[in-house]
Symmetry: C3
Subunit: 343 residues, 3 copies
């Protein structure tokens, strides 16, 4: 594809060789003559100068000799668009693979794609343009929304609703029983786990993630939220729209995240905690049971506390050797006085 | 089902409308006229008053106008029983799905259920009333006990024994090789992982859990123990009966948990540690290699220590600014004296 | 097999009954008359005396009455070799199971083994002596190297290269999209994840591990590296040869580990961190974004710091009660002086 063609699609000016043939995209360091790369801001221009990329998406006003430049007010965003234009993700042929086992009461849209060895249980629904890859299991009365893509080997237990344009990666399990027991005569008696899971539109969920069904009500993942690999979301958790939840984080039962919350990697959230909108919780932090974290602030540590308080504590610890020396000095002075007084 | 029918099954008195038709169960906040909910103790009665539930399991002596009440000495426990009575888990038809691949030397009980695309290897045994869902893999000489339920896509490697009335959720892998190597000339040489895994009766294991086979002996999970999603149990670990192990916890090789131990979420247990009966280890704690934690106590932090010691340390840290001010004051007083003495 | 036969294979001297029949191997505590066990060093000889093992691999010069001894300069290493000699891992019959679904453009070596319900996509390659167990998914243009073993239910997304003599355990997902988004008008816009994954020779990867494909370049796992269960490796991470990465550890995007690095369990590594050769990071430690850890040292804590600094901090905390008592004593002395001065 010619560079000018990409510029036209993005609606931005080109400077350089408009006929340059672009075959794919690459990072600055690895790009070659027929590849497109991008420079997010002026400070990366030196790296761009060393790059062998033939074509670069750059901030407006950037100057780079001997390259074909696409001048953009938002180079990263336009790069994303350019990749989708230049290398669109392949759409599989619609249709149900003959080795899929679909219950007669399930509904599969005519333009959906269902791969080999998929199992679809009674009453389940796979909507228009959805793609359900090999080895997926779609439990009874579950729903896979329009244009949603389940990579190979996703399991939806019964009664799991997945919205439109979602992506679920391999090995993810949605709707398994929550971890709820009642101590009774030295044993753990299972509390019924009969609730639902609802995943709203445009959610992406990584590989080997676990999202448990509610005990009685509903576990909910809000619209546009993105969840990384190996995350645990317990029963009755409610996650608002547009959150980011990084790998190996665990959220315990009945906790609530409002919208635009970010949990970094390996964060632990206790039961019945409440994290307000725009809060950011740093990696490996632990939010205690029942704790409320106010919105718009950065938290760190276990127990999680505002970043300033965490840093203050580190400063205090670092100042301990000095404090100890001062006390030692005071003791010596006092002892000296004592001696002088005696004389 | 009529409310009186449930009361009779539970063997407890009903107050109110004995003919009330009950269709399902729900949480207090979401229940409607034809639903059963429960109130665990008097302190939740205000929430119960706001609930629209038609029928409520309440503590004996509780008073709520305009409801049908089932008066119980143990409302939560009776609620669990009521759910099982009112909404029994569906039992699948017994039989082997034609798309399962069963080795001729495997033994499958006539009343067991085996789903599509299940693979059962030589010498494996699936006992009476067991349910093995789609995509499960039962390795050679493994055993699935009576009434045990493997949800879709559980893998048992060869020689894994799963007891009776167990539940294993999707994605769980039992019997993979332990992580054991010997450093040798700059490389890691694999130590043989030829031992077994034994899971006793009434164990429940969450989704995407990993339980490794022993190097030579046996990795054991005791009767009635419950394990949450995404837990790692290394080779040669021995877990006693009736333990609770919460999500994202990892237990390293050859560690021992006695009975009724609770590990909260994201706990790490080192190698050859020993945790005695009734000990509770708080979330994100780390138990060092070889450490013995005495029974009946609560531990927290990394390294894990008794709760009181952990809190003491927090108090000390919190008192540091005050200590610093006191030292500053002492310095000033001493300087003042010095000055006065000079005069 | 006769004990002398094993001694001959190992090339080491035997003392005792050369005709002793050895059937299998076991731990010292559990071994019987017809089993081989080993003693790594002199300090374990008392345990060996209590053992009922008929045959023991012991350090040269060790003395144990009434046993057949194999005298080795490296007992653990020779035990590993003996197990492989005595109990070789079974090799499955080569061939493609009729229930595998192989695309016509995929290449499968004649002596490879492909199990039931395996799916192999266009252009994928399974090389000589490779073993791909049931339910595996081999994405388009992926490669499974010579002699590599994929246990049941491994997923390789498209374009994943796995080297020779590797082992991947069940549930592991290689090549899922990295967790990369760009904030845009209150939403998270997906950054293209179109890169590759390359796993070099002799790598072993545990169960339910996630290794994401690079955004544009390549995620790389170096030769001989061993990865435990439930580990997360993010996009564009580069791991050098002969590293050890223990369970539940997460490595964030674009971080680099040089060779022979050890990360203990539940370690978190931030983005763009760089861990140099031979560094060891203790359990539950957290390496901050962009941090460089020098090689050859031991690190612990969050933020991870050299072990000595971590221990110093613990000592300081432990000394706080004493410091507080000293300040109290100084105050009292000063107050006493004041009083005496007044008089």
């Amino acid at each position: 594809m010619k560079a000018q063609h990409i510029a036209d699609y993005l609606g931005i000016p080109l400077r350089g060789e408009s006929d340059l043939e672009i075959r794919s995209v690459a990072e600055l360091d690895q790009a070659g003559k027929d590849q497109l790369s991008f420079v997010e801001s002026e400070k990366h221009l030196p790296r761009a100068r060393r790059s062998r990329a033939g074509c670069l998406l750059v901030p407006e006003g950037a100057d780079l000799a001997d390259r074909t430049l696409l001048l953009s007010p938002r180079p990263r965003y336009d790069f994303i668009r350019a990749v989708e234009f230049l290398m669109p993700a392949p759409r599989p042929e619609p249709g149900i693979h003959p080795d899929a086992r679909i219950h007669s009461s399930a509904k599969i849209a005519g333009d959906a794609t269902v791969g080999p060895f998929v199992v679809v249980e009674p009453g389940a629904e796979i909507e228009s343009m959805a793609q359900v890859d090999a080895h997926c299991f779609i439990g009874s009365n579950s729903r896979v929304g329009q244009g949603t893509h389940l990579y190979p080997r996703v399991v939806l237990y019964s009664g799991v609703q997945v919205g439109n344009r979602c992506i679920l990666h391999s090995g993810t399990v949605v709707g398994a029983d929550g971890f709820g027991y009642m101590p009774w005569e030295g044993r753990h008696v299972k509390f019924p786990q009969r609730g639902r899971v609802e995943i709203e539109d445009e959610v992406e969920i990584g590989a080997n993630v676990c999202i448990d069904r509610a005990a009685l009500g509903c576990t909910r993942i809000g619209r546009g939220t993105k969840i990384d690999n190996l995350v645990q979301i317990a029963h009755n958790v409610e996650i608002g729209p547009h959150c980011l939840i990084v790998s190996l984080t665990g959220i315990s039962g009945s906790s609530v995240l409002e919208d635009h919350v970010t949990l970094a990697g390996q964060v632990g959230v206790g039961e019945h905690a409440h994290i307000q909108r725009n809060a950011v919780v740093g990696g490996q932090s632990g939010v205690l049971n029942g704790k409320i974290l106010r919105g718009g602030a950065l938290y760190w540590g276990t127990p999680a506390r505002p970043m300033a308080s965490f840093q203050e504590q580190h400063r205090l610890l670092a100042s301990l050797p000095g404090l100890r020396r001062e006390v030692e000095k005071l003791k010596q002075e006092l002892a000296l006085r004592e001696k002088l007084g005696e004389n």
